[in-house]
Symmetry: C2
Subunit: 149 residues, 2 copies
DNA sequence: CCTTGCCTTGAAGTACACATGAAGGTTTAA
DNA sequence: TTAAACCTTCATGTGTACTTCAAGGCAAGG
């Protein structure tokens, strides 16, 4: 498939695919007789992988280091493992930060219902959730916003 | 406390704190007689909140929109709720991408053990995990890396 | 033959989120 | 009183990750 189809399939712009190839985030892409890129499913999977890691917050630079290790022929499994574990730690931390922020937003969202168009059913639900929150996290929760409830 | 102490307390640079104030991500900070910023715990909490949201991938622009709504006096709870829910969706998607990438790395990591210094105990553990993976996700898992096992 | 629509490379431009530097003010300590 | 160590504003610089532009090639349709 040509680069435009690949772009549509992955949601990554053609320019970005070329950029990823130049930066060696994806392997060298085969060319047709006239020099156009001919992209197969292996490349598509790589692009998707890069997209996932980028969305997860990994920089191009680190992603390249990571991929270089994997593509190398030498038996550098120890370094690979170390790099994997390092990256795993970074990502788990990020995930936890993200979850904390999600919890924060959910909390606020629930308290909106609390003083808006909430039904009694919802109110009872929220009292339960609030009790849960307080049980898990008894810390002072004033972040300086006018929480308006 | 002065800006340097606040910087050390939050891990955010002095320049970034000034930038956040200018961009209205944190409220106007009180000044001392000579015009220096005098930062209290309310501001510290706000800075921490901004840091969390930034780490969660929220842009300065969206964060400002978000905070503006919260700081406004008018009763715009509907818009607030909509914005919260929108942001929540973005963040949950991000969290899921992150979790997918973490799973991916864990899978690779497990397969390293599989052909390295793994004990028989670890091997049995991994067979179980692998079976789980296959059960949950029977899709073709070749991402184009030389998985080396 | 000419337009349309795809492609190529290489260079230059852009947006974001700060970082850094210049020029100057205040307070403390020797 | 002079230096150190903070601070201020305003302007400009920087790194990342692309995007956009310029100049041109190839193939098909009218």
């Amino acid at each position: 498939m040509n680069i435009k189809e690949a772009s549509e399939k992955t949601g990554v712009s053609s320019a970005a695919i070329r950029y990823y190839e130049k930066e060696s985030l994806i392997p060298p892409i085969d060319r047709t007789a006239v020099g156009n890129r001919d992209i197969d499913d292996r490349i598509i999977r790589r692009i998707t992988f890069v997209t996932q890691m980028r969305a997860a917050g990994m920089s191009i630079e680190n992603l390249r280091r990571y991929i270089e290790l994997f593509d190398a022929q030498e038996d550098n499994t120890k370094e690979q493992k170390a790099l994997l574990q390092e990256q795993l730690g970074v990502m788990e931390e990020k995930r936890d930060d993200l979850q904390a922020a999600i919890d924060h937003l959910n909390y606020k969202l629930n308290h909106f219902y609390d003083h808006m168009e909430s039904t009694e059913e919802e109110l009872r639900e929220l009292e339960r959730q609030h009790a849960d929150k307080v049980a898990q996290k008894p810390t002072e929760d004033d972040d300086g916003f006018n929480n308006a409830y």
